[in-house]
């Protein structure tokens, strides 16, 4: 499972993980994530697909309900347990290395599983 941690933490990914980690049990649909993380769909969906492939994010279809006023069922995304763990780790590392220049800090303590 070391491949999972090899996800490179980019700015947009960091924003998505922050939003999803704010409440790990919450279900997010695509437009919701786009709005809260302020990302265009062309960045968000490939990222979600990659996270899903790596087992960090789970997707499930909304059960059809009566009170949706004819709205088609949505697909909801949620962090998996592994995803929560990896996201916390990566965000903590990003936070700890944020004040110093990243390159110097990364050389001292590289992210686990990163290819550096």
């Amino acid at each position: 499972m070391c491949r999972l941690v090899a996800v490179k933490l980019t700015g947009p990914l960091e924003r998505v993980l922050r939003v999803m980690l704010a409440d790990p049990s919450a279900l997010h649909y695509g437009y919701d994530l786009m709005k809260t993380a302020k990302l265009p769909s062309g960045t968000l969906y490939p990222m979600l697909a990659r996270l899903q492939q790596d087992g960090l994010v789970n997707a499930e279809w909304e059960a059809p309900r009566q009170d949706t006023a004819g709205r088609p069922p949505r697909k909801y995304y949620q962090l998996t347990a592994e995803g929560c763990r990896v996201a916390r780790l990566e965000l903590a590392q990003a936070a700890s290395s944020a004040p110093a220049p990243r390159a110097g800090h990364g050389a001292v303590r590289p992210a686990p599983g990163s290819t550096r």
Binding site: Y29, G30, Y31, D32, M34, K35, P40, S41, G42, T43, L44, Y45, P46, A49, R71, P72, P73, R74, K75
Partner: protein
């Protein structure tokens, strides 16, 4: 029908058209997912005035188009990887990317052998030897090579592209060329049934 609903339908068609680019196994699901996002965009009260929502929906479609390109690219890469893996483990139907290269390489090897042989005959003829002499030497080599190929076919659990018998006939009829072609195309180098250590190349233990 209100203008909002109409543009929503147009955006839905657009998404459907964009989704055609995706591989068939994920197309319908992705299309449903993205079409289901459209009502949320068109009902988003935080975007004012309302015509900006239409713009937002169409920029959403542009992003979807980009996404489908990324997804189909990675799907193609994955299928190429699995095809290569199948080819290495000897699946008959797997189409290797380098088949033409292998065939040309086999032909080149054969050409080199023929040229060397003709050169040898010409050289020995200038020295006064009869042309039958080098053939006498080469013939056992060719027969040995053919026997080696036939033995390889007989021992192999599986050969590629053709039946074992077809490869035997090719080896026998086109004596050196058939054998070379078998080795470069039909021969499965690694035994698929033999367990290799943790997927690394067999025979190299580090």
């Amino acid at each position: 029908m209100s203008p909002g609903r109409r543009t929503q339908r147009i955006a839905g068609w657009l998404i459907q058209a964009i989704c055609r680019r995706l591989p068939a196994d994920v197309r319908a699901e992705r299309c449903r997912e993205w079409t289901a996002e459209l009502p949320a965009i068109f009902d988003d009260q935080s975007i004012r005035p309302s015509f900006l929502r239409t713009l937002r929906a169409f920029s959403f479609c542009v992003g979807i188009s980009w996404t489908t390109r990324q997804l189909s690219k990675s799907a193609r890469a994955a299928s190429r990887r699995s095809r290569n893996a199948q080819w290495r483990t000897g699946a008959m139907r797997a189409r290797p990317p380098e088949l033409a290269v292998r065939a040309v390489r086999g032909l080149l090897i054969w050409l080199v052998v023929v040229v060397v042989l003709l050169g040898l005959i010409a050289l020995l003829r200038t020295r006064g030897f009869p042309p039958s002499l080098p053939v006498l030497f080469v013939l056992p080599l060719a027969v040995g090579f053919d026997v080696f190929c036939l033995a390889d076919i007989a021992r192999a659990e599986q050969v590629r592209y053709l039946h074992k018998w077809a490869w035997v006939i090719i080896c026998l009829v086109q004596a050196p060329l058939g054998g070379i072609m078998y080795l470069s195309i039909g021969h499965i180098g690694r035994h698929p049934s033999r367990p290799t250590s943790s997927g690394g190349p067999s025979g190299t233990i580090r």
